[in-house]
């Protein structure tokens, strides 16, 4: 193992520790916000926003997505598109009888 390689891994480890602390703080934020009993639309928005930040930290740093190959990004982009379509399906039922009869 070269000195550069070892230094690179050490730098990664410092990032992992920082992300861990950030995830802990955001977990406390999530639970604390719920104590305020905000109106549902605001509560959902805030909770999902914090969860998305936490999820992005895990994906980017623990799963190394921040420095991944293009093919992985392409796979995930396609997945994200289908995932969004899947989550949008219930919305179609709101427009009474327009899309789904």
């Amino acid at each position: 193992m070269t000195t550069d390689h070892a230094a690179d891994i050490d730098r990664h480890v410092r990032v992992y520790i920082t992300v861990f602390v950030a995830l802990m703080v955001l977990t406390i934020v999530t639970v604390s916000i719920a104590e305020f009993h905000l109106p549902l639309p605001i509560a959902v928005t805030v909770a999902l926003l914090v969860a998305t930040i936490k999820g992005s930290l895990v994906a980017c740093y623990f799963m190394h997505l921040i420095s991944e190959k293009k093919l992985i990004y392409a796979v995930l982009l396609l997945t994200a598109a289908f995932f969004a379509a899947l989550l949008a399906l219930p919305v179609l039922t709101v427009h009474d009888g327009f899309w789904i009869r």
Binding site: A34, L48, A59, L71, F82, F83, L87
Partner: protein, 196 residues
């Protein structure tokens, strides 16, 4: 015949086969959980009334489990980093910690489920509990599956380190990607089911 591209990268993908394989698998997992989340949204928006999760579920226990699972993600990535530093002993410590934290998560869920059943709350009781048990049950199966794979790499599978350390490191990285995905799912399940 040897399995191709376990260590060296393919010229067309720029990746080894294990890496692309695990990401394709995770893509399918996103759709699996996505279907259940979409069902949850549909059932909840269509319901006349819906209970807040914290009126039925145990938030302190779930918060504890969130901390446990996030900690296990850190030990997992540290296990991989230990292999990258060629420190096999440290790898086993961190991997052992990951398995142990996964076990703690399952034990807490066991008590949580047990308490619900004791109170006469079952999946058949109402839609909220049906979606709660389905989503958390499926997630628990994933935790258990990840623990089995990690236990294999901690124990018998670690023999590969002696003959092909790079391949072993790649396998641990792929196992870690699955474990982090399981953590990621919980990060969304926790506020959705327990706090809203």
């Amino acid at each position: 015949m040897d399995i191709p591209y376990t260590v060296e990268v393919r010229r067309d993908t720029g990746l080894n086969n294990g890496k692309i394989g695990i990401w394709l698998f995770l893509a399918s997992e996103v759709m699996l959980f996505g279907a259940l989340f979409a069902s949850y949204i549909l059932i909840r928006t269509g319901a006349h009334s819906w209970p807040r999760g914290d009126t039925i579920l145990n938030v302190p226990l779930a918060t504890f489990n969130t901390i446990v699972l996030i900690s296990s993600s850190v030990t997992m990535v540290m296990a991989w980093a230990s292999l990258m530093r060629h420190r096999f002993g440290t790898f086993r410590l961190y991997m052992g910690g990951t398995i142990l934290l996964g076990f703690v998560f399952l034990v807490v869920k066991y008590f949580e489920y047990g308490h619900k059943f004791h109170d006469g709350l079952f999946p058949s009781t109402n839609n909220f509990l049906a979606i709660y048990f389905t989503l958390t049950g499926l997630h628990m199966l994933h935790v258990f599956g990840g623990m089995c794979v990690n236990a294999y790499f901690w124990g018998p599978g670690s023999k590969l380190w002696k003959t092909n350390p790079e391949w072993f490191t790649n396998r641990v990285e792929n196992s870690g990607l699955f474990w982090h995905f399981v953590d990621l799912v919980w990060i969304f399940l926790f506020p959705t089911l327990y706090l809203l």
